[in-house]
Symmetry: C2
Subunit: 433 residues, 2 copies
């Protein structure tokens, strides 16, 4: 006998939770499609040469790779590299700007720990331009994610927006040398706190007080988005990147409003740096209010060139991604999913006595009226049949006994209210609808 | 520069085809759920020990396997072994009879050839009983597949049904020794033809003429399902398996009718043997009429014990499976998919001049009315904008120029009929709905 165990770090849900998970996926998909994003479905396996064109460091160590015949093969570790391959390979067939979504499993052999998964769903949207891409997409993308999180009904959240050009321009303007280190430090500002931030700059990087004060003043710009933008403009930094960044950020903020993102649900956070070598303009992070410790649940940004390793075509883009497996786990753990108990069938039909023919006939009729239902066929005690219907999270059981058949009615049992009544088919249909 | 190539034997569709593929998946899923089947989603990777508990021979050679840390890992090659693991592992939490569906990718390192894939979707339904399972499920399962293929609208097809007990009983009754070889030969009867069938039995297996005639008479039983059942009964074989098989088959046929399967869409085919050591009762194969050369597009059957390698619990079941990637490829190749061109957005909104604000406002309004739409933001010639909308397979383009804004109307362009008119928002909504 072999123990039927699942590998550690792999999520496998019971049906009730799987139904909830699928509901979340459907909400995400529906909203992606409401903006006309096109689905693609790239393979889980790719040629190592293709998948590792850019990878390196930590990511490469985590990748599942193996050899089959003459092929060196990898399992995808994100959906961005496969997108780059896809766009380069199908360049002449795609309609640009190419707005695509992909929801699929990716693989990273991380150390398994609570809330971390080795196989997890990513839900990505990106718009890819040919040579150039309008800044309006930088506002459209977070508005899609806004709609999704609103519909998921998980409470208050904030989409934080910034533009990397602002930080880079500031650092350049201040003449700071260790710019990558300092960017990383700024990104961690909230985590390490002001005191450690100042001490590190002073002791490790020998930065003068007036420059540290300028950095602090910058990071701590607060108020409404409009107030923050005004303060940024008054900062009067003579640097073209900085000023371009502020202008772009203002455009994005203005149009996020136009796309219907409520004022309370987004904000500027100038310390967001994200992937230090990938994003080149707008950047996003999303936090659930009161659950900031979960980290960003939806992030992304603008990049200059998607597929430089595969094509000479210049392909700028902007996108965001939800790490769904982890998010779902966190939402469940924190009781943030307020959906009803997962159920597929609204009603279970229970034969009592020799009435299976009538049960099948009713099942067909209900199905033809788009009501998912189950007929319980096993011969067992009535108690067990009702237990089955209850465990299936059905709202109703229909009982068909010989009396029901003879007198042409159905007994409809409300499994939540513990009451039952005799109904005609039409009455049942009205209740079940 | 690295060539952005996809591995051979891996299907990767352009968005238009992906939309069609997803439509097929949705039809399958909807019908599975209409019978109350529960979704599960097992990992793509499993412990080798677990996944290979039963495998061997050809299958084992095709499996993608590798080592990561101390773990020997395999990619799943079907959805049945993971189901067995799942049911054994979650036995106490499941509601029996456990009716589940799973739609997911599986992996087999077969020699790549036209129409054969190394990564492919399987769409499985199975009902698993605890100790026993009603025979009604053997009729329910093919009725689900019938509804799916009807809704896919691919023309005429036939679900062939048999019961392995009949063949096994007959062979036992005739006292044939090489029963496995002979079963295999019978399974190939249609392919090899009567003459070769007779010669092989005569020369290779030294079987006497009267027994060969009996086998021929049996295989060639024809007519309506009722006539076939009558002929089977008149066959008067004194073997309990044979007679039990005939009785079960009669029950299944009767109830497939009850579940609404049209007479023209199913038939008895006594030569179906299928997986020689797995199925123990009812067996199914499905052929598209006029395209029998494609092989069975949906198969399955009844089995005695799902998870004998993982648990002492006796878990009989019945199920069917669609190999969707291959089927989709075949349907496309043979022009059997009659769906409209794949499109996500019904309408593309085109700004002319400085009207982007109005375009975004309209986009929001349409989206709130559940109409998927795209705003085209790039600055380019009108010709290119219309070309984009056409390539997106949208039915309509809405043009908003400065005149439209000033006079409060929209220009709605029918992209199929090449005509346009001026409409109010309400009029547009009515047309788009």
């Amino acid at each position: 006998m072999i123990e039927p165990k699942t590998l550690p770090g792999f999520m496998e849900l019971l049906p009730e939770d799987q139904i909830l998970f699928n509901k979340v996926v459907n909400i995400i998909k529906k909203n992606f499609e409401s903006y006309g994003f096109l689905p693609i479905d790239t393979p889980v396996l790719e040629n190592s040469e293709v998948l590792l064109a850019k990878a390196g460091g930590e990511t490469e160590k985590q990748i599942y790779s193996f050899t089959k015949g003459d092929n060196k093969i990898c399992m995808r570790f994100d959906l961005t590299v496969p997108l780059a391959k896809y766009v380069a390979a199908n360049f002449d067939s795609l309609n640009f700007p190419f707005a695509r979504y992909q929801i699929g499993k990716v693989y990273r052999g991380e150390k398994p720990q609570k809330g971390r998964f080795r196989e997890f769903y990513q839900c990505d949207i990106d718009v890819i331009g040919k040579n150039s891409l309008s800044l309006y997409y930088d506002a459209e993308i977070p508005s899609i994610m806004y709609r999704i999180f609103k519909e998921l009904n998980i409470g208050k959240f904030t989409i934080f927006v910034s533009n990397r050009k602002i930080l880079l321009g500031l650092i350049e303007n201040l003449g700071l040398k260790d710019s990558v280190d300092i960017l990383r430090l700024i990104d961690k500002f909230a985590k390490i706190g002001e005191e450690n931030f100042v001490l590190t700059l002073k002791l490790d990087y020998k930065i003068e007080d007036d420059i540290i004060n300028k950095l602090l003043q910058f990071i701590k710009i607060d108020g409404t988005t409009n107030q923050q933008l005004e303060k940024l403009k008054k900062f009067k930094i003579d640097n073209s990147d900085f000023n371009e960044g502020v202008e772009e950020l203002e455009h994005v903020i203005k149009n996020m409003r136009a796309f219907g993102v409520e004022e309370d649900y987004f904000n500027i956070n100038l310390s967001i740096a994200r992937g230090l070598d990938y994003y080149t303009g707008t950047v996003y992070e999303t936090f659930i209010t009161g659950h900031e410790n979960l980290g960003s649940v939806c992030s992304g940004g603008r990049f200059d060139n998607l597929a430089e390793y595969y094509t000479k075509e210049k392909l700028p883009g902007v996108g965001m991604s939800i790490g769904l497996t982890r998010l779902f786990y966190q939402l469940k753990e924190n009781n943030l999913l307020k959906q009803e108990k997962g159920a597929i069938a609204k009603v279970v039909i229970l034969p009592m006595g020799n009435t299976i023919d009538e049960c099948i006939a009713l099942s067909n009729q209900l199905r033809n009226n788009n009501i998912n239902n189950i007929v319980y066929f096993e011969e067992t005690k009535f108690k067990n049949k009702i237990l089955y219907a209850t465990k299936a999270n059905a709202n109703y059981a229909v009982i068909i006994g010989e009396d029901e058949v003879k007198n042409n009615y159905f007994t409809l049992k409300d499994l939540n209210a513990f009451e039952q009544k005799q109904v005609t088919f039409e009455e049942m249909l009205n209740i079940l609808r």
